[in-house]
Amino acid sequence: MRSPLHPVQLTLGLIIWALFFIVLYASLSIACQQSTISESTTPINGLSVGLFIFTLAVTAGLLYQARRVWRLLQKNRHNPAANQPTSCRAPDEFIGRISVAVYLVAALACLLSGLPAIFLKPCI
């Protein structure tokens, strides 16, 4: 499962996005129950900044994962020591390519979901 070419990678990027989304929505909802934050009138406050940094961190993590899987794919392609016939490598190649794309989509989704945090007042 730790292998970058394990089939779980097909969905891992979007599972991370889903967890990110839950944390984003839940932390906003819980924080807005606190009077100090909910009464804040400034567009940018501690909560907004926190949510935005969280967004950037998860996005960066997903981009890093995409790069990691891509590099391993390249290495497998150019490494004859992989010692496997092409037919055996086909599932890895298929899983790897789609996984890279899934990580990139998930990174984009995280960024787009979290971006409004710095433009809108959080609790109105």
Binding site: L28, S29, S113, G114
Partner: protein, 838 residues
Amino acid sequence: MSSDDPQAAQDFHHQFDKVWGNPRGLLALTIVNHTTIGLRFMVTGGVFFLIGGLLAMLIRTQLALPGHDLLTPEIYNQVFTMHGTIMMFLFAVPVMEGFAIYLIPKMIGARDLVFPRLSAFGYWCYLLGGIILTSSLVMEIAPASGWFMYTPLSSAVYSPGPGSDFWLLGVTFVEISAVSAGVELVVSIMRTRTRDMGLQHMPLFVWYILAMALMIVFGFPPLILGSILLELERAAGMPFFDVAGGGDPILWQHLFWLFGHPEVYILFLPAAGIISTILPVFCRRPIAGYRWVVLAIITTGFISFGLWVHHMFTVGIPHLAQAFFSAASMMVAIPTAIQVFAWLATLWNGRPTYEPPMLWALGFLFIFVAGGLTGVMLALVPFDWQVHDTHFVVAHFHFVLVGGVIFPLMAGIYYWLPHFSGRMPHRSLARWGFWLTFIGFNATFIIMHVTGLLGMPRRIYTYDADLGWDLPNLISSVGSFIMAAGVAACLLDIVLHFRFGKSAERNPWGADTLEWTTSLPPSAYNFATLPPCPTRHPLWDNPDLQSTIEHGHHDLATIDHGRRETWGSDPITGKVREIIHLPGNSWLPFLGAVATAGLCISLLSKQYEFAVAAALLSLTFLLRWSWENGAHPKAAPNAEVVEGDPPLHSRTHDGPGLWGMNVTLLANGSLFMSLLFGWFYLWTVAPQWQFPEQSPLSANLFALAGIPLSLALLWFKTIIKHLKSETTKRLTQQLWGISLLGTIHLASLIGLYVLAPLNAQKSAHDAVITVMLLYQMLHSGLAVILTALQALRVHKGYVGEMAPYEPMVVERWWVYTTGVFWLIFIAAIIMPPIWNIN
């Protein structure tokens, strides 16, 4: 057998028929074969579609003229509620499942689905639940709060009759069928593909169904939980959605739309799968961008779970939270657009022929893209506020649902009609059907956008003449009758073709996928021998495949053992790992469903003693079903296989049951997570939520009750370790010991519940704790019963080192039960005193 002699081939198939054939007469109720069950789903769904369609005609007739009094307001409310309910729960989902149940084994080169009795049980639940729900309409006591049953309108105060109960119990009953089909399809696709069909070779339709099935597994449980909670509120006064008792009606909306929005994609994905199957065949080229489409399927499956709040933009959620969901709602258009571009590229590069299935596919493209665009408009919060609850929204979702579901469905019906019947449709009548439906649909719903923009709200039974809504409503009503004429023409064509249709040649459309290698209509076993499939286009690559399959040139050609067999394969590569033996026809699914219907009717009529009896009867049938497995004389007492073949799955450490349990626990976990969500939601948001000064449950006593449970799990894990290393001793006694520990735990839990000062009718806090405890008791009780049954099975010789597989399935249940117990402990007992933000 491997011979080209026709007589030998006939004898060979006769032997297969003896093992796989369907009985007739009353015994037809025992059939579990996927072909029959899939067709039953589709035909039953078709009947419900006609009922839902007639209700739509009533709505349009009522609204055709201002001040029309065809229907009273009360009946109108029932009619529009049942129209939506029938179309969503009794037509669209079951028919899509029927398609999947019918086609998936044939497309992946398997002889049946992996849990045939579960398919049959699901069908009977669907049929009986549908009849119960629809009967309320005939009795004029149908639900009348809209298909989404918003509280407090649907609660006992504002809907005192049995209408809401019919909805809540009937829909939950029907959802058993959806979830069981979801579990079955996931496991079948992952574990029963034919030799060498790796993930990269799966037909796109199979990818779509895999995503749909997983979405059902995760998406339906929130609504099941919501329905249980609302029924408990109505029947037992537990105030989950009542502000005065510490509840919140908005919780219902969250639970409903957590299901409701993914539901749209649960319907759209298989429909898109039909399009992705049909277009390449009629364009005579592979689909453009196979991997892009797979990416789009996976992405849609996930992102569609992050949109549910866009149905609730007007309930008072903070703007920033709305922006999160608005962004996700727009993002989901991207994977959809990828698919649309792949279809357009396939058309562009192909040589399309415009047979009836293609007409419907192209009609889909036009209507669905338009509906998708108004969807993006509605994802914008300010626009949504303007048109919320108007006919604009009605027009939008009919564009998406009729365009995105019914048009592809019709394309699929026309495409696979020769498969169902062995006959071809009538081209001219089919074209009339298409054009009338297409024109009628657009006449009805394009103008309805304008009606909505003019301000006409949804769910009003009439309107005044001076509001400017007269003409657009009249046009919509005329259009709807044209559409109905189109549907009637299609229906006529389909009915007539069974009698007068030209006999279909083999593979009449020149398709590439394995389902067209069967006979037309197919035999109960699909394939006499199972071919390898190391390609995405088996029939284009090897047009002789039909013949070599029939003449026994491929795998699993032996049938004299009398077992129903199919390959069990590696989920990634498709390499063969074991032979899966499947159960034969049985009364148990039918009887189990009838008992469950008894439970549903008893609850509706508030005969709770009968409800308990029906629940116990249903459990008895289901346990008996689990008894006839593995090495049982009615399953596979003889484990002999042909030399060189892999072992039977019941003699291994892995198998479909283990996967089935895992997927079922995912669905169960989704339900439990929804319950935890409800707990935290009410805790943080409900205006009148109150924690009692002292928790009604003692932390120490609760933790003490968890000790025997945890010990039982550890013991079970030790047994599994020994089973795997074949060093088990006194297995029966050990399993009885675990059962005893579980019983001690259960007794402690019941004691805690009885002694706790819970007032579930007064406070939402106590009501949620009560539900958590009952949930835990149900799981702990089942763990005890299942383990005791395993002990008996070991004693009988059905389970042991020679057949070590079943205890591993039961162990998963123990892991889940123990995990849930400690999560409840943390969420309901440990967290409140240390983190009380209320």
